[in-house]
């Protein structure tokens, strides 16, 4: 089950904890993977770990010219893009009343506008192939909101609305567009939390623990698989019951 042999997957944010694990799992299912991110060293290390069928494609998603070039580079490296995982994301938290235009715009640019451009950039090939999988990594806060994260929450909710609209348009072409919305996951981002903050969070998670990157990549693998052909426009929440949506 979930065999991706012969498929090519482009993963953004592959230098981060969740992105790297998504790349490992899709690669393990047989896909060629394009590893995109801003930091080249971790991408090179991951490519070396994976061996063949792994391609390093550095890209700064705040540079719109670079974003537009990425699907083409990925297609050249892998012969096409069958699966796109928009996983890269940034935060620039601040209280709403103190949030600058730049804090707002930079988060929207990287998280939402780059996702739009990458979806558009891979669509032609997917339409011709009559097969495609797009998995946009949203967040629980896109559904629930979070103090200090008006920009991030707006971008993550925007990804869901965009995914649903695109899912409508291309469903008849064998292309599915879905979102995965992680709750609190053990990554470098959550390592920085204090013990007090962590125990506060744990109190809100029925499962009583944080999730692991592997629990996100399993959801992505499913949505990327041929078996999920009839699942489109949905958001798969992976959050230990923190928000039952």
């Amino acid at each position: 089950m979930f065999d991706l042999t012969g498929k090519s997957a482009l993963i953004t944010g592959a230098s981060g904890g969740i992105g790297a694990d998504i790349a490992r799992v899709l690669h393990g299912a047989g896909a060629a993977v394009g590893l995109s991110g801003t930091r080249v060293d971790p991408l090179e290390a991951l490519a070396a770990e994976l061996g063949e069928r792994a391609h390093v494609l550095p890209c700064n998603l705040s540079d719109m010219a670079a974003v537009e070039a990425l699907p083409k580079q990925a297609a050249e490296a892998m012969g096409g893009v069958d699966i796109l995982v928009n996983n890269a994301g940034i935060t620039r938290d601040n209280l709403f009343m103190r949030m600058s235009d730049d804090e707002w715009q930079s988060v929207l640019d990287v998280n939402l506008t780059a996702t739009f451009k990458l979806c558009k950039g891979v669509m032609r090939g997917m339409m011709k192939a009559r097969w495609g999988r797009i998995v946009n990594i949203s967040s629980i806060v896109g559904a629930t909101g979070n103090p200090g994260q008006a920009n991030y929450a707006a971008s993550k909710a925007g990804m869901i609305g965009m995914s649903k609209s695109l899912a409508y348009e291309v469903a008849s072409r064998g292309i599915t567009v879905n979102a995965v919305a992680p709750g609190f996951i053990e990554t470098a981002m959550t390592d920085k939390l204090t013990d007090d903050q962590k125990s506060g969070i744990m109190g809100q998670i029925p499962a009583g623990r944080m999730g692991t990157p592997a629990e996100i990549s399993a959801a992505v693998l499913y949505l990327a698989s041929p078996e999920a052909a009839y699942v489109t426009g949905t958001t798969l929440h992976v959050n230990g019951g923190m928000a039952m949506l």
Partner: protein, 77 residues
Amino acid sequence: MSDVADRVKKIVVEHLGVEEDKVTENASFIDDLGADSLDTVELVMAFEEEFGIEIPDDAAETIQTFGDAVKFITEAS
């Protein structure tokens, strides 16, 4: 009929699965040939590849009929 018109007709017939004699000068892709809006995007993509040209989005919107397509492509290539 010109070579361009023949090639355009072949693409339209294959993509939309219509009879060749339905593809007339004034036949509208959407109103007469059963295309949906995404079909018209795909037709433009197919024209671009067949003729090695680039059809910008604003020009693509003006290509509504078989005749429009032949005219645009003849002028562009």
